[in-house]
């Protein structure tokens, strides 16, 4: 079932700034929609509003075609998974998973069968009699997923579900979730501050800043066609500041001829994504500028190269280690940067 959030505003205190303001978006049925943004952007509030843990001050939330304004959390049929697992410590894994069915007073045999199925779905077959404290973090979170899925939720609501897990388990569980979600076709809303995670597993991304939707669309949309430099920066691009001078959009060492509508002296920001920048050791043709390698940060097989450009701006480039080795880069050395493309934003933007 789809989830439609319509012009929703929520204030936690009457006088304070709204946690979310006039937010609208639709999460397609059967797909994973991610809500991303920096902390305090109102991501979790959206999830709580959909769950019914909070009620909107203005606007409405639809689950399927149903307006949920008067539907309690108990009857919304949402499966919640939290960062801290929130398992019932006083119950076994089996009873945790069965809880939603037990309170619905389902038939005992039916519950047992369903729990067994879910236990094997989350790869915990045979661990039904354990207590949560006897499991690892990844296993606990899988129990939480099974518990949420047991009630056949209309929507799965995940609040930073991988946030407390170490890197390997995180990726494992993320891939597992992708598979299960596809197989079951349950509409999923995922809140995360990890943009990489969001771009990787979701069909649709809602990016929030300061309680508002900055941009919503497919991961490709957001990455290739960001509506503002802030959005591009959040997704990992470098942003250079400048202005229009003599018909040229000039941002630091970077300049291109300005568009026709650009006004002289207008503010300019150039968005440079990692893949728009090519590094060479010797100056060749094209847009090539000298830069200094400020820092090399090796992250597994990839290297994050921070560069200082001549005008004091800095950009960062993410390269495979083999390429960095081939270039024989080292901190403090000079390289040449070839800018193949960039997005130019004119004027001021409010997200």
């Amino acid at each position: 079932m789809s989830v439609r959030v319509e012009r929703v505003t929520k204030r936690y205190s009457a006088a304070g700034t709204p946690a979310v303001a006039n937010v609208s978006f639709e999460a397609k049925a059967g797909a994973i929609t991610s809500i991303i943004g920096p902390s305090g952007a109102g991501k979790s509030t959206i999830l709580r509003l959909v769950a019914g843990l909070e009620l909107p001050d203005e606007g409405r939330v639809f689950i399927g075609e149903q307006d949920t304004s008067n539907v309690t959390i108990q009857s919304r049929g949402v499966g919640l998974v939290f960062q801290n697992y929130a398992l019932f410590q006083n119950m076994t894994v089996r009873d945790n998973i069965a809880f939603g069915l037990t309170v619905r007073k389902r038939d005992k045999a039916e519950i047992d069968a369903r729990v067994e199925k879910l236990l094997s779905l989350v790869q915990l077959a045979g661990k039904g009699n354990r207590f949560p404290r006897e499991l690892s973090g990844g296993q606990r979170q899988r129990v939480a997923f099974a518990r949420a899925l047991a009630i056949d939720p209309k929507v799965l609501l995940l609040d930073e579900p991988f946030g407390a897990l170490d890197a390997r388990v995180r990726i494992e569980l993320r891939e597992w979730l992708e598979g299960v979600q596809k197989e079951m076709g349950v509409t999923t809303l995922l809140v995360t501050h990890d943009q990489e995670e969001a771009l990787e597993i979701s069909e649709h991304v809602v990016l929030m800043f300061d309680g508002r939707v900055a941009q919503a669309g497919s991961p490709g949309d957001l990455y290739d066609r960001p509506l503002s430099p802030e959005i591009a920066a959040f997704l990992g691009a470098s942003v250079l500041q400048g202005s229009v001078k003599n018909g040229q959009a000039q941002a630091g060492s970077f300049s291109v001829s300005a568009t026709g509508t650009a006004v002289e002296g207008e503010k300019v920001r150039a968005v440079l994504r990692s893949e728009d920048l090519k590094l060479t050791r010797s100056a060749t043709d094209g847009e090539v500028r000298a830069a200094f390698v400020r820092r090399l940060k090796v992250v597994g097989g990839r290297v994050k190269v921070s560069l200082d450009l001549p005008h004091g701006e800095s950009v960062s480039v993410d390269l495979p280690r083999s390429e960095v080795d081939a270039l024989a880069l080292a901190e403090g050395e000079q390289v040449f940067v070839d800018v193949s493309s960039a997005r130019i934003f004119y004027g001021e933007f409010d997200i």
Partner: protein, 270 residues
Amino acid sequence: MPGFRLTLISTLVFVALIVVLPLFGLFLKTTTLTFPQFIAAVTSPRALLSYRLTFLSSFAAASLNAVFGLLVAWVLVRYEFPGRSLVDALVDLPFALPTAIAGLTLTALYTKDGLFGKPLAALGIQVAFTPLGIVVALTFIGLPFVVRAVQPILESIEPEIEEAAMGLGASRFQTFRYIIFPTVLPALLTGFTLAFARAIGEYGSIVFISGNMPMKTEITPLLIVTSLEQYDYAGATALAVVMLTVSFALLLLVNLLQRKLARVTGNAVA
């Protein structure tokens, strides 16, 4: 583990000096009585009635405290209200107040002319100088034990746990019944036991409010003091031995129950 031997030895010596030695003396003293004398001393009608009163009123008070102490702890943990820290501080007062003062105050309040006693007397309820008065005093004494045992456990229940339960369809009552209550139960039992144990040994606050009528409102600790005043040291210690044995057996029982519960629920014994 380094330091094991040193800490174990000092623990044993300490416990032996502070707890075991006086108790040993107590048992030793009773041996001045012959067995039939001992039996006669501890099974006199007056003694039997005093045991009944002591254990029943202690049990009643501890039960009351378990119910209302849980409620107080719940309110203190769950709600923000003006004066909360004041209420929180008030809970500890029975710990600090000399019990005789508590007894005197309660007696003054609950006699026929007292602030509470007068309207209650109009309803035909007499509190002071009855077993009911004893329960009131013991409840006053025992409240902090339950509140302070339960409070930290309630605080440790993450809000997400309840949210997850409600999302799964549980009503507020079901959430309490199946999740919160079982989680706090071991701590509640600890609080109950402490309040109960404290009540059995309580003396100071009872002397005034009970009226000390033999066979009616005379608790065992008081009977012991009365025996001592009559220079019947052996008789007093015989009663003490009975008190001690029963109390110890009860505490042991609750402790075992609690351990079993803790094993099931995975909560550490508080």
